[in-house]
């Protein structure tokens, strides 16, 4: 570990990273676990964007595209298609937010649990990493003009069912925590 050319960039990168981690995060929900109270449901991250898929589907349906290509002037059709792609991209970003909310919830549960499983935590970290890569690739594909509407629908359905399951889980957590606090206060 004596090569200056290797050491200096590593130290600068690590120090820069450390400084960035010390800066207050833009996102106010950056400290969910330390500010989490199970009885306050408004503080919980929850998926929202998937609910708008019906409108998005309407806006992106293939029939509309065909109609535009057939009857609209080429300039207008091109503009419309570009805007539709932007809508799809925006929606995908929304789904990304939904996914992040769910993983954040997973991290809060882990942080507040008296015991965690190393394998589960590693797996979630890897799945999040994989998602980020896939998300980047799909955004790139959308930018190149392809709008896989059916697959987006499947994905949206999945986020919806995940959200429903999370709502159930959070209700359960709130009940369990409340009973634990009551037991704790009775015991003290």
């Amino acid at each position: 570990m004596n090569n200056l050319v290797i050491i200096v960039p590593i130290v600068i990168a690590l120090s820069g990273g450390l400084l960035w981690l010390l800066l207050p995060q833009r996102n106010t929900s950056a400290s969910p676990a330390s500010s989490f109270h199970p009885e306050i449901n408004e503080t919980l991250p929850s998926p929202r964007h998937y609910k708008h898929f019906r409108q998005i589907r309407q806006a992106l349906c293939a029939a509309d595209t065909e109609y535009l290509m057939k009857f609209a002037p080429p300039q207008v059709a091109k503009q419309a298609l570009r805007e539709r792609r932007a809508v799809a991209r925006g929606f995908l970003k929304g789904l990304h937010e939904d996914f992040s909310s769910l993983t954040k919830l997973g991290r809060i549960i882990a942080a507040l649990s008296p015991e965690v499983n190393r394998r589960q935590e590693t797996e979630r970290l890897l799945l999040t990493g994989k998602f980020q890569i896939l998300y980047g690739l799909i955004l790139l594909r959308l930018s190149m003009g392809n709008t896989p509407i059916e697959q987006l629908e499947h994905l949206t359905g999945l986020v919806g069912s995940m959200a429903a399951r999370m709502d159930e889980a959070m209700a359960k957590i709130a009940v369990l925590s409340a009973s634990q606090q009551i037991t704790g206060s009775l015991g003290s």
């Binding site: 570990m1 690590l14 010390l22 996914f99 769910l102 997973g106 649990s113 979630r124 799945l127 987006l152």
Partner: protein
Amino acid sequence: MNLLEHVLYWLTFSFLIVLSGLILVRKVQRILPFFALYAWLLLTGTIVLYLVYGHFGFNSSPSYYSYWGSILANASARSLAIVELCRYGLRAYQGIWSLIWRVLTALSIYFLAHAIVDAWGQPDRFAIYGMTLDRDLAFASIVILTVLLLFRNYYGIALEPMQKAISLGICIVCAVDVIGNTILRNLFTGYLFSWLSSSQKALWPTLEPQVHLVRDVWSTVHLFSFMFSIGIWCFALRKPLPAPTESPVLLPAGVYRDLSPAINIRLATFNDRMVELLKP
């Protein structure tokens, strides 16, 4: 020491007195005893070195050993302060703490062993041992602090302002130490090493100004960074410390056991759907 170094030395000394006073006034020793110990050790070391330099002379053997001894003592105290930072506020989160301490301990053992092996292979000079150990421990400190902050950010457990200031100050001191010590070490064990052997004694007077120049530049940079870090700590202690945060109310263990595998299965399915999106 040149004039700039004198000014920096006395400024650093004044900052150290202010820091030690603030630590006592704000009762930091009750919350972070190892950080308080580190700060007081820095002040004590500076006073002892001043007395040794005054009594034995700057280029004497006791001054040489006192300097390198104080460097190693400071590095050890700093390491303890980092251990304390790692434990602070995280122990209450029993589940993730059991995960985090294992990772941090494994990293610490690896870096400590690396530092010992690295110092062991050096030419037989106390200064080079000290410099190598100090450099490797400083590098380990930056890595461990970064990993700690990554964990904290990932699980959303924010550091309090005082702990943030301590981390920032330690990072600055360590980064400058690693870079400076690597340059010096490479010079002394490489280019300059053959010149330092007794067979080259006749050439030492020619080499002396170069060695002094290197030492002066390094000393100035080191003092600047050190003073800056102490300034950060003093600034953080200008106001009384807030009351320590309450321990979190933990969820029943069954919640994690039930939900975590379910979340991971869902995430995996989500990723599978994402892969489908990519198919032509």
